[in-house]
Symmetry: C2
Subunit: 484 residues, 2 copies
């Protein structure tokens, strides 16, 4: 049984949910496979688009109830969770709009010319998709989150493996999604939910599953990626793993606005108790006492919160202990601990660039939670090769004083390096907050993701679930509708 | 040393070429890495486009010499080889045109709206690329083939691992490519060539290599794919492996044009001595004596040719022996053997749908060379589930009588199944011949390729070597030129 727990008390909350059996899983995947020809062929607009909007409406209609239940299982608070339901339903509506736009299928026509025959290409849904829900976004990256929305939009039936951290929220969400899809006329099997680690592994190994999406830890993601690669028929695995999101404060910015940078940094670091893949884990600052003091003060005034689970809290404590014991690191400041048995304490360590570079692999590992590492650099010339040696990240950030040509020249140099180690570069902002828009790229080089050409946020997320087919010398009435 | 051999005699031909040492390989990859910032940032048009066209011109200027040397190493004949140089240079010019079109970088702009910041996304070159040349296309899929052309166009320096079958052709091609790139002002290291199996493995494992392209056997491709997945930093591996390319002849077509179908089939099967990944390995025909007799007659009138290497010839002989010994298969007909020690004999076997389905995995394996398997089916209703169970393929083909509504209805059903097991569907044609156009998709589900969303032929091949970067809240002059 999967038992949710209240992060504020560590006590069980809600009814336990049974783990899905092997027989149950087989039935769900078989149903998804059977649904594919209908759901995948359903005229993308209006029918699939209508169904996605119906799911969004149904979730919105019960947003309050969903947020209340999710709060008992995640402790993330009503405001954040209500907002996150809206983010999830916004994603569903965005993908409905993508379908109505009609460009998503990427139709290309090369008419016959000379010896070359008429060739027309369009994408088709890859097949039933497995989605592994994340713990830290119980709506936007969970049962009805971006992976589910984009895969359903692509025409792929979806089987979600619920995260153990919020089983009742997952059940209720799935019930609402299934009900809305059924009412909209979608075939049975278009959407399914499984619970339990074993069910998740069986799902990934199931021969009828054609691709998988995952948001979670580096260790978990690597294990699942390997399973996908070693199947008799390997499948694409779109994993979004860990990231430390280097932020570079250039000398001019550090001099002209230390307080604003310190405040912005600490707000980004502690938001959601630091439980974001876009958390600013590494902050590179000039050897400038003013900025360090401002950061120290801001961290000291910050507060933690309850972490999502005892396991995440234990991992955070281990990461803090490892940092405290590291000979090159000193603690710069810490904030007030969060409430309850899993309450995290914001904590920022400090290290010189030289010491950081000497132990780069260890020190650039993710510390999931409100823990930061501030690296003091003597010059940007010294900094650049260290930035270039970082592992892949989701986000890189540069703070510059736009009024100083020297700072902007350094910014150009930093961006030229960061754009090779991160999928998104933020200028004079912070990495947390991922806008759901067409130009978004929430991806990045390994190990930030397992497939650096793809994004899990924004409209391009649909591309993960589509594969091309070319039609050569076809009569018009045998072509897919989008190619006639 | 790598020693080329003349397929017509099996005897050594040309000077032996030394295998690349570990030190030599390191130097080439380091040079490629050093070239990346310049070649990758070179204004895509006109400079990178000019350089690609200069390479094409230089190869065309020596097409005769190249074809003569390649003929001694491959036995493919002057006409085919001269045409193939033109195909390779056509590809280089096509990618130059893609760069001049300017849409390849896929720039997307989402302006600031409400709480969402301005986000702009564009692609960048992934990094230095390893290309593994194929044996069966000494120009179009070799040193200066489609993988090299598309990767260079994307801004990626390329290190090619030459195929052992045509070392002198590879050396001469590389000399021409390097000379033309240098004359065009490309940085040193933009292009390199290595020889030898060990050098190829070191290349794939090199930490500075960012992606790899491969055209070759299923066994070889799977081994290389695993190496890429198990690197400390895994890299994308775009492998085009084996394919048996199912062709379905519907009852109406079998009745109305048996002679034309038989002639077209045998021409496609024996073209290039059957050494194409698009070879029609499986032909599904109704239990119709007329068509079988026509096929038997056409096969009987066909001739083989010298295969590319002793190893390929030995593999072909093994495949024929395995087929001859299979209890469900009978030989339908064979043609005249090709000349020389590696001369292949065209051979077509016959099996019932029931026997085929009972041993589908073995019988649907590729038999590289002019060997066909004709599967007789009692009805299309019986055939469809067998088609659906086939492994992934590059091409599926349907022959129908367009004047018969019943045949066209069956064609619709067959296409609906084939488009899930093949990347390209041909109507009333044959799978060999892959047009280099924008709508082409030369890819397909596993094991036809290791990355079914991508093509290795046509302009979309450039997408394999590009990864996105998003820029958030950027001042105009810090943005890449394509995003301002």
């Amino acid at each position: 049984m999967i038992q949710g727990r209240d992060p504020r008390t560590g006590e069980p909350v809600g009814e336990p949910v049974p783990e899905t059996t092997g027989v149950g899983l087989d039935a769900l995947v078989a149903a998804a496979h059977a649904a594919l020809p209908v759901w995948g062929a359903w005229s993308a607009t209006p029918r699939r688009a209508d169904a996605l909007e119906a799911v969004a409406d149904a979730l919105d209609a019960r947003a309050g109830e969903l947020a209340v239940i999710a709060d008992t299982e995640t402790g993330l608070g009503g405001e954040r969770l209500t907002g996150e339901v809206a983010r999830a339903t916004g994603q569903l509506r965005l993908f409905a709009a993508v379908l109505r736009d009609d460009g998503y299928a990427d139709a290309v026509i090369s008419p016959a010319a000379g010896a070359a025959p008429d060739i027309r290409r369009i994408t088709r849904p890859v097949g039933p998709v497995a989605v592994f829900a994340a713990s830290n976004f119980p709506f936007a990256f969970s049962v009805a989150g971006g992976d589910t929305a984009s895969a359903l939009a692509a025409g792929c039936p979806v089987v979600v493996k619920a995260h153990e951290g919020h089983p009742v929220t997952s059940e209720l969400t799935a019930e609402i999604v299934t009900g809305a899809l059924t009412a909209a006329g979608a075939p049975a099997g278009t959407f399914g939910l499984v619970h339990g680690v074993q069910a998740g592994l069986q799902l990934l190994r199931h021969p009828l599953i054609a691709a998988a999406g995952f948001t979670g830890s580096t260790a978990g993601g690597l294990a699942l990626a390997r399973i996908c690669a070693e199947r008799p028929v390997p499948i694409p695995f779109y994993g979004e793993l860990g990231s430390v999101n280097p932020c570079v404060v250039l000398p001019g910015a550090a001099f002209s606005r230390p307080a604003a940078i310190a405040a912005g940094y600490v707000a980004s670091l502690t938001m959601g108790t630091g439980q974001f893949c876009t958390n600013p884990g590494l902050l590179f600052v000039p050897e400038d006492a003013g900025l360090l003091a401002a950061i120290s003060e801001a961290v000291g005034g910050s507060s933690g919160g309850p972490m999502l689970s005892g396991r995440i809290f234990a991992g955070y404590q281990d990461a803090l202990e490892e940092a405290a014991a590291h000979p090159g690191l000193t603690e710069l400041a810490s904030g007030a601990p969060g409430p309850g048995p899993w309450g995290a304490t914001p904590c920022v360590f400090q290290v010189t660039l030289k010491e950081f570079a000497a132990d780069l692999e260890l020190l650039s590992r993710e510390r999931f939670g409100p823990a930061g590492l501030v690296i003091t650099y003597p010059s940007v010339a010294d900094l650049l090769p260290v930035l270039a040696a970082l592992p892949g990240n989701l986000v890189g950030t540069v703070h510059a004083d736009g009024s100083l040509p020297e700072d902007m020249d350094l910014a150009r140099q930093a961006v030229a390096v960061l754009e090779r180690v991160a999928g998104r570069i933020v200028f004079n902002g912070w990495p947390t907050g991922v806008a759901v828009v067409a130009a978004q790229h929430h991806g990045g080089p390994w190990p930030a993701t397992t497939a650096p050409a793809y994004t899990s946020v924004g409209t391009a997320a649909i591309c993960r679930w589509l594969v091309p087919v070319a039609y050569q010398n076809f009569p018009d009435d045998l072509l897919p509708p989008g190619l006639r």
